[in-house]
Amino acid sequence: MRLSEHSYRTVSAVRGPLLFLNRVFQARLGELVNITAPDGRALTGEVLKLSADQVLVQVFGGTHGLDTKTTTVRFSDAVMRAPLGPGCLGRVFDGSFRPRDELPMFVPEKSMPVTGAPINPVARAHPEEFIETGFSAIDGLSTLIKGQKLPIFSCAGLPAREMTDQLLRQSRLPDGGPFVLVFVALGLTHFEYQFYRQTLAHMQSRFVAFINLADDPVVERLLAPRLALTVAEELAFQQEMDVLVIMTDMTNYCDALREISTAREELPGRRGYPGHMYSDLASLYERAGRIHNRKGSITLLPTVTMPEDDITHPISDLTGYITEGQIVLSRELHQKGIYPPVDVLPSLSRLMQYGIGKEQTRQDHRELANRLYRNYAKGCDLRRLEAVVGRDGMLAEDRHLLDFADAFESDFVHQGETRRSMTETLDTAVLLLEKFCEVAK
């Protein structure tokens, strides 16, 4: 163990976000380094790789302006840690945990390594209480459960931002207990940031936000979610709060991962994304959960914009392989003017069955959800037939199902700006099914 910090001016190469140093004495894997650029700018970095004569450092905050002669690198003898304390509530930070809201940095009470440690599977408590999002399509048919990770799969041009904004403002616990939102925005445009800023301004202190803007350093896009999750773990498992982490947009995260992987000259996998992307995404998503004998919980709602609307694209594919279900948005519904444009057929909350029913939501919830789903699925199938043989060539019963599918979209899925409570959602379902009772048995 070294006892003091070491300083070096032995940078031999700078490549993309990477810095190569020679003749470093006893560096450690994952060690945090502080870098001073020739113009005095302060940066941080992390040791990725080391051998007897060379150390490879990944720089957070862009290597622009660094040189090989005068850049100084200080080794801190510590791994990257996130500062923690109640002062972070109600604040907006950037991807390196610097205040973005023009207020001074809060006084940390402690710090924790940003990578976290895996929850021992036997310590995990199985998720079983629901969170009310205010969207009928989600609450009614793909209920979000505390401790779950449930992504929203969107396409370019769909109102994922509006939905995220509403989720920030409208998510509630059924018992109204303390609830904190951790908002992570990756690669956000300034325009979008203005939009979210207004929302955050109205949220008082029940949030922590990490905003990485589109022109912020790419490496910070990888750091911001880890900082956010470290804060979430503190709030959930030490302060016993229920935390909802909203992460947007994971597509930007994965693109950053690809960019840095390329700079490291790693072997590219499918569509150029690195082979370890599954493990990397899992190291974020798996931090959601509940723990036996601890009160809080971390629930994770990442948004993914599927490139080319393709659900088999590596980003959505690997996300789907790690998360516990998915909420899928549909271009077709959006074009019909349905908001939120949730396509309930491919959407699924795998933990729903544990969080609904008599004790949790309402006794008839499961039955209602099944009936809505079944009849809507039939109706959608019949739309294809209708396109071929025409409405008149169809059985009366089938025409009725077609009407049901339309009504389901316009009365149940569509709700515009209004928030619906769980009871309102279920009542809407009852009403709809009563109206179509002959078919919707």
Partner: protein, 541 residues
């Protein structure tokens, strides 16, 4: 003798420590992290570290364990949950807390727990390796304790024992402990392989009836995300008619492992009526646990499975998912800068995989009993596309292929087994077995397949002319096919229907087909389908 760390790149570490062998276990750094030697070059070795190694520095000490990566085998493994290195996760939680820390190494077996030993051999007996000394009772079964080397018994105890006390000694000298360790990457020996003959009843109608598996056989279950691999594996783990189940959560979700533990703690084994957990061993290396330990997890698990097979038991090995194992292999290979093959997987993926799958089978054990090890392996093809190396490599060695279909899953048809593309090479052997009890088995199977096939052709016609345009006979076939699909092939795992015995299965399908034939002959007599169906409906009310 100690060596030193000379370079570090993620979990791949170079050390200068002489006299190592490939596969040797080493302890790396001040925290003594477990690693395995994967490459030797002169005086230096490359080591894959199995634990989180952030904070490791150049120059830290390295020690050899002078043995390969091993697991402990002895009484008390049943009911346990381990990580990919066989560290007991419950114990790890007691000493390390709710989050997994590096550098802790609690032992898999409990050396404090007393067992009652009942010898079945005598002093003076000349015994071969693998011979049975006696047994202890572990849960529902007689746990046979084997001799791990050959010799003449000098002493043999009886009654209460603990695992750290010898139960016997040999005239040749060594004393014999009731446990031993075994290298995970070496298959345990047996006398000879036999061919699988008995069906393994999964309780899934679709599988047992259309694509049966045999004890000692291997099935692969590929499917895109959300197609039901995990639910299927866990349901089979509950109901399969075997003595021991080894379940590996390989690179999958923590919540699923928690769910499995909770559920298995409450459920009972349908055969023995004892807690289900008593016949189960879980190996959990979730997706966020170290990648190298994920790679070793399936070997850790299969070695424990073989150990119970060697007692003459039927063991079922379930892995979810083998793709995550293959990806771990790929990550390790990439870190070693090996030449990549298809999709970046190392070129030895196929041989490594078949070497592993070959550990399944029916064997005559060294002790002379017959034991079986069956495997059901989930595969998660990227993008749900089956033309990828892992699925293809599995297909070459597996005897049954249960293809899960994303379209069926989206319609909530579960288990989403595609009945057209799935197959079982064990069908012939299984049939011989079933026909003895159910003479119509083969005929019904053929009828069922035929109806489902004809439905496809008819559906195409119906898409053009509408159901109205079909003849009564064809509409009847569509109706029966729908019933077979929704009522017979679908089986919701979360209801009482989750499990069906072969008797129930055959009665079920026979009833559907008999009704079909009945209506068909009525149609032949000139009756109208809609009226017939209405009669049936009214009768049901």
């Amino acid at each position: 003798m100690d060596g030193k760390v000379i370079s570090i790149s993620g979990a791949t570490v170079r050390v200068d420590l002489p006299d190592l062998k490939i596969g040797d276990r080493v302890f790396v750094g001040q925290d003594r992290l477990t690693g395995e030697v994967v490459r030797l070059e002169g005086e230096t070795a490359t080591v894959q570290v199995f634990e989180e190694n952030r904070g490791l520095g150049i120059g830290e000490p390295v020690q050899s364990a002078h043995s390969p990566l091993t697991v402990q085998l002895g009484p008390g493994l049943l009911g346990g949950i381990f990580d990919g290195l066989q560290r007991p996760l419950r114990r790890l939680k007691e000493i390390g807390g709710d989050f997994i820390a590096s550098g802790l190494a609690p032992s898999a077996l409990d050396f404090e727990q007393p067992w009652i030993f009942r010898p079945s051999s005598q002093t003076g007996a000349k015994l071969l390796r693998g011979a049975t000394l006696g047994c202890v009772r572990e849960g529902h079964l007689e746990h046979l304790l084997p001799l791990t080397e050959e010799g003449t018994l000098a002493t043999l105890t009886e009654g209460e024992i603990r695992l750290d006390q010898p139960i016997a000694s040999l005239e040749e000298g060594p004393s014999v402990l009731p446990w031993h360790s075994w290298p995970v990457r070496r298959a345990r020996p047996f006398k000879r392989k036999l061919s699988p003959e008995t069906p393994l009843i999964t309780g899934q109608r679709c599988l047992d009836f259309l694509f049966p598996l045999l004890k000692g056989g291997v099935a692969v279950v590929p499917g895109g995300f959300g197609t039901g691999k995990t639910v299927l594996e866990q349901t089979i783990a509950k109901f399969a008619d075997v003595d021991v189940v080894v379940y590996v959560g390989c690179g999958e979700r923590g919540n699923e492992m928690a769910g499995l533990l909770d559920e298995f703690a409450e459920l009972e084994d349908p055969l023995t009526k004892r807690p289900l957990m008593e016949r189960t061993i879980i190996v959990a290396n979730t997706s966020n646990m170290p990648v190298a330990a994920r790679e070793s997890s399936i070997f850790t698990a299969v070695t424990m499975a073989e150990y119970y097979r060697d007692m003459g038991l039927d063991v079922l090995f379930l892995a979810d998912s083998l793709s995550r194992w293959a990806e771990a292999l790929r990550e390790i290979s990439a870190a070693l800068e090996e030449m990549p093959g298809e999709d970046g997987y190392p070129t030895y993926l196929g041989s490594r995989l078949s070497g592993f799958i070959e550990r399944a089978g029916v064997v005559e054990t060294l002790g002379g009993a017959v034991g079986s090890l069956s495997m059901i392996l989930a595969v998660s093809p990227p993008g749900g596309d089956f033309a990828e190396p892992v699925t293809q490599a599995c297909l070459r060695v597996a005897g049954a292929f249960y293809m899960l279909d994303t379209r069926l899953a989206h319609r909530r048809h579960f288990p989403a087994i595609n009945w057209k593309q799935s197959y079982s090479l064990y069908g012939g052997v299984a049939k011989d077995h079933f026909v003895g009890k159910h003479p119509h088995w083969t005929e019904l199977q053929a009828r069922c397949t035929d109806i489902l096939q004809r439905e496809d052709a008819l559906r195409e016609v119906a898409e053009v002319v509408g159901m109205e345009g079909l003849q009564d006979r064809d509409r009847l076939l569509m109706r029966t096919a729908e019933q077979i699909r929704l009522d017979f092939l679908c089986q919701n795992s979360f209801t009482d229907d989750a499990y069906a015995t072969p008797d129930m299965t055959i009665v079920h399908i026979a009833r559907l087909i008999a009704e079909h034939d009945q209506i068909l002959s009525a149609l032949d007599q000139g009756k109208i389908l809609d009226e017939l169906l209405k009669e049936i409906k009214d009768a049901a009310l």
